[in-house]
């Protein structure tokens, strides 16, 4: 029996040979699923701070001629 400890300090980003070159295969725009960790964070979610964006839109709607873009135009209030 031999007992061998493999180094933890090995260089990580060496080019991978083996058949790993097939990684990704044919692919279009966007990361692979195992790279979605950051996208799952609240700050990266579209609409995570809904009430705040709605409040901003409400203020800007009542002061500016443009509305919508992020969502629907209009404001549902008579503040014109």
């Amino acid at each position: 029996m031999t007992f061998k400890i493999c180094s933890a300090n090995a260089v990580r980003r060496l080019a991978i040979c083996l058949a790993l070159a097939a990684l990704g295969g044919c692919s279009t725009v966007g990361p692979d699923p195992w790279e979605k960790d950051l996208m799952a964070r609240k700050e990266m979610l579209v609409g995570a701070y809904g009430p705040q964006m709605a409040a901003d839109d409400h203020v800007f709607f009542s002061k500016e001629a443009s509305s919508g873009g992020r969502g629907f135009a209009g404001g549902g209030c008579g503040c014109n």
Partner: protein, 302 residues
């Protein structure tokens, strides 16, 4: 001291050093939970929750149960099966692992057991048998588009290389919701800890020797994360003095040559550790090179 316990099917609950230790049998393996606390009731609740989670995953993903999700998918080979979201995530995971590993990790390879029976005998299948089974192996033959899966007739999938590790991670997460005390979850040698012990030291984890005497081959101190082992000296075929290990390469449908007898990997999660260990051992003679190149914390036994 073993305390009689009302916990469903829990085999034991006892004081072990600074820990309360509960143990039970699930997923065809001995399972253990250690909770470093004085509070027996809280520890007992953790053990119960862990066991419940283990049994849930076993019931859901066991290939031996016809009423499991896997059983249903396999029984429905040839037609389309719609799966729930947890199964879908696991199948997605298997799909990506298959790609990352260029086919080395393959949840369809279980059918190889039909011809390769690792019983210590000399029953090595002949080429014809292997050719016959070959068309039933290969994830690329499976039509998977969440949440619908369709296996070609005769094919099977199993989460053998995944479900136990997944259960460990899930169980630890469940435990951590219940208690802040340090916890170790160990399902048949695949284990995960919540963090260091209360005094800041690591958990002592022994790596089992693969030799007949079954001595401890190594000891490591785990401060956090998980450890999983792949490889098992107890399962092999011996023909004409040649030893065929039980690790099968799904691409060749034959045992991997020159593989270490066991690879133990430490990683952040048990799923990661288990998968890395499996991929390492599938590299055969290149196992150590692979582990070193990837910077994995690992212990190989040859």
């Amino acid at each position: 001291m073993t305390v009689a316990t009302p916990v469903d099917r829990t085999l034991g609950f006892e004081r072990s050093g600074a820990d309360w230790r509960g143990f039970f049998s699930a997923m065809a393996t001995p399972c253990e939970v250690r909770v470093e606390t004085e509070d027996a009731e809280a520890a007992r609740a953790v053990v119960l929750a862990v066991e419940t989670e283990a049994r849930r995953i076993e019931a859901k993903f066991s290939r031996y149960r016809s009423d499991s999700v896997i059983g249903q998918i396999n029984a429905g080979a040839g037609v389309e099966t719609v799966v729930d979201s947890e199964t879908a995530h696991l199948l997605d995971f298997a799909d990506h692992c298959h790609r990352i590993s260029a086919g080395l990790f393959d949840v369809t390879s279980g059918v190889l057991r039909r011809v390769w029976r690792f019983d210590g005998s000399a029953n090595v299948p002949d080429d014809a048998q292997i050719e016959a089974i070959r068309r039933l192996v290969g994830w690329h033959r499976v039509r998977w588009r969440a949440p619908r899966i369709r296996l070609p007739a005769g094919m099977e999938i199993d989460f053998g290389g995944l479900a136990k590790e997944y259960a460990v991670d899930r169980a630890l997460a469940v435990a951590r919701i219940l208690i802040e005390a340090p916890v170790l979850v160990n399902f048949g040698g695949d284990l995960c800890v919540s963090g260091p012990r209360r005094n800041g030291s690591g958990w002592k984890v022994a790596i089992e020797s693969v030799d007949k005497d079954r001595n401890v081959a190594g000891l490591l101190r785990l401060m956090g994360g998980a450890v999983a082992t792949s490889g098992d000296a107890r399962r092999y075929l011996l023909k004409d003095g040649k030893r065929f290990g039980h690790i099968l390469d799904p691409r060749t449908c034959r045992p991997v040559e020159g593989a270490p007898r066991s690879v133990t990997v430490a990683a952040a999660t048990c799923v990661e550790a288990g998968l890395t260990a499996t991929l390492a051992i599938l590299q055969g003679v290149e196992s150590e090179v692979f582990l070193k190149r990837e910077g994995v914390r690992a212990w190989c036994i040859r």
